[in-house]
């Protein structure tokens, strides 16, 4: 089974723990070390070699230093990392944020899950989004 590499950036320690708690034992993903903001995302990406790059980056919108959409914008204009699927999640989302992020090239913008099921549903959607792209690459 292909294990998808997931990078989560969230400044909320509890959310990082819950993310790990609910999704850590999924067989189809590998959780990369968490980032606490956008700056740490880039720190990680720059030290990671090609194969170690994440397949999916999940960004919390409200983070210090570099928030979700700023990180998204820099990722999508970087060239190097523009191909990585980026999801933005936040406790509350509004139309403006959704449109803004979609225009920048976000795969999806979602509200933060609450229950275990919701966390799994989020991850299922992330992976589902990836599939067509992978098929194109392997073909």
């Amino acid at each position: 089974m292909v294990k998808r590499r997931i990078l989560l950036a969230d400044d909320d320690a509890e959310d990082r723990v819950i993310f790990h708690e609910y999704l850590g034992d999924r067989a189809d993903i590998t959780l990369l070390p968490f980032a606490e903001n956008g700056v740490e995302v880039f720190n990680f990406l720059e030290t990671a070699e090609g194969d170690n790059l994440p397949d999916i980056i999940i960004l919390d919108q409200n983070m210090p230093k570099m928030n979700g959409r700023q990180t998204l914008e820099q990722l999508k204009t970087s060239g190097k990392y523009a191909g990585i699927s980026v999801f933005v999640y936040s406790t509350y989302i509004d139309k403006t944020l959704v449109e803004y992020c979609k225009n920048l090239g976000a795969a999806s913008v979602v509200t933060k899950p609450i229950t275990r099921n919701e966390y799994h549903a989020l991850m299922d959607n992330c992976i589902k989004f990836l599939k067509p792209a992978t098929e194109v690459v392997s073909a």
């Binding site: 509890e14 819950i18 406790t91 509350y92 509004d94 933060k112 609450i114 229950t115 275990r116």
Partner: protein, 433 residues
């Protein structure tokens, strides 16, 4: 110039002679009108008689003297040759003193340059302009300048019309406008503040609230096995309350968002809109065993998402507040009106939409209250809801330049009626409302 007529008796002989006499008469009238004729001698039955035009002259003299405008005549040096009494009153001097004075003496210092230019123009072409004169009562006047070619040579006649009152009114209007602008600005600011407050007050609490929900569900899902029946019940209450809290915050946010931003209206088929809406409610409608009847509704210009919300909030209320002993029935009808009034005659300007149910109803003394924020008539343990639904409906209808009202009878049912313009564009065009 003198015109001498013939013997005054016309022989009825030749048409040509008549024609000649007619032409002569026309020429005379023209000469009189343009001021070329001062007097006429007519050979009448009593011999030659002299007719002067003094009488006409006098009418105009009196007229100029009596009119409520100031009148002056200047020579080429700007000296006043003639003026009427009203002008003397304006500058508050005796009539006899004004004649012979240079006109510039009565012009306010700061406007003199402008006045000289106006005079210069006036000598070339008839024109108008505004100046301030030295006068307590009538400082602001409009001048109409016209040159006259009289026997004594060219002179410049000026009529002075008092503009002080208009100027004052204009000034006051300008001040009031400025005041209004300031107030609008302040209002905008405070609206923005309020908007921001509503936004912050509803955004920020969502973070800790979500944590309450997360850990409560975590307890429920992972640790329930260790709980007593009581503990489980309390936990359920926590989860239920936090869900309600979340809904409340979302509703407040939606409500406050309605105030912000411009509305986008599009022509919408209400029947199609309702069909979509009811598809979403299919399960609830089936569960409640409800019947929803929709008559033919017109196409009107609305913000689709918002009007959908209005229908949704009212219909979901109808389903929620249904009677235990009877399956809920909802009847949606529409008619076109001339005026924005419930009892308006038929017309093409407005559309009245009625949503009638057979639910529990409410006491009619609450008919206005129910549209206020957080107004709930029923205990929350019986009927869930945040009390914002109808407030949102009202706000939306008002954003559509419409009105909404409700009537009801306890135990019989309620009817919600809203009236909105069929076209929003016309409202902007004519500012009718």
């Amino acid at each position: 110039m003198l015109f001498i007529f013939g013997n005054g008796t016309l022989q009825p002989v030749l048409v040509a002679a008549l024609q000649l006499a007619m032409d002569e008469a026309n020429e005379t009238i023209k000469a009189i009108r343009t001021g070329q004729v001062e007097a006429m001698v007519v050979n009448g039955e009593n011999g030659h008689e002299l007719y002067t035009l003094k009488t006409t002259d006098q009418i105009y003299r009196v007229f100029i003297e009596k009119m409520t405008e100031g009148a002056v005549t200047l020579n080429s040096d700007g000296i006043i040759l003639y003026n009427n009494t009203h002008f003397a009153d304006m500058v508050n001097l005796p009539l006899s003193q004004v004649i012979g004075m240079p006109i510039e003496q009565f012009i306010q210092e700061k406007g003199k340059e402008q006045f000289y230019q106006l005079l210069e123009r006036g000598w070339k072409n008839d024109c108008r302009g505004e100046v301030e004169i030295v006068s307590e009562q009538y400082p602001c006047v409009q001048l109409s300048l016209a040159t006259l070619n009289l026997d004594q040579g060219f002179s410049l006649s000026i009529i002075l019309t008092d503009r002080t009152e208009q100027k004052d009114n204009q000034q006051q209007l300008r001040l009031k406008n400025e005041e209004l602008e300031k107030m609008n600005y302040a209002l905008d600011l405070s609206n923005n503040d309020l908007q921001q407050f509503a936004s912050v007050a509803s955004h920020e609490p969502q973070e800790p609230l979500r944590k309450v929900q997360i850990f409560a569900t975590m307890l429920q899902e992972e640790e329930e096995i260790n709980f007593s029946a009581h503990a489980k019940e309390y936990l359920n209450k926590i989860i239920g309350s936090s869900k309600r809290m979340k809904q409340l915050i979302t509703d407040i946010l939606n409500y406050s968002r309605l105030s912000a931003g411009e509305n986008v209206f599009e022509r919408t088929n209400l029947n199609e809109l309702l069909k979509e809406l009811l598809t979403d409610y299919e399960i609830l409608i089936k569960d409640k065993n409800a019947n929803i009847y929709i008559s033919r509704l017109p196409e009107i210009e609305v913000n689709k998402g918002q009007i959908r919300q209005v229908f949704q909030n009212i219909i979901s209320n109808a389903l929620k507040f249904s009677r235990a002993d009877e399956a809920p029935a909802v009847l949606i009808t529409a008619r076109k009106l001339e005026l924005k009034e419930i009892d308006s005659p038929q017309g093409d300007n407005f559309c009245l939409i009625s949503i009638k149910d057979n639910g529990i109803g409410f006491d009619k003394k609450y008919a206005n209250n129910i549209f206020s924020l957080f107004e709930k008539l029923n205990a929350k343990d019986k009927y869930e809801g945040t009390g914002i639904g109808l407030a949102i409906a009202k706000k939306i209808v008002e954003k559509h330049h419409g009105i909404i009202s409700a009537k009801s009878e306890e135990g019989v049912g309620s009817e919600f009626v809203f009236i909105v313009p069929i076209s929003q564009k016309r409202i902007d065009d004519y500012r009718l409302w």
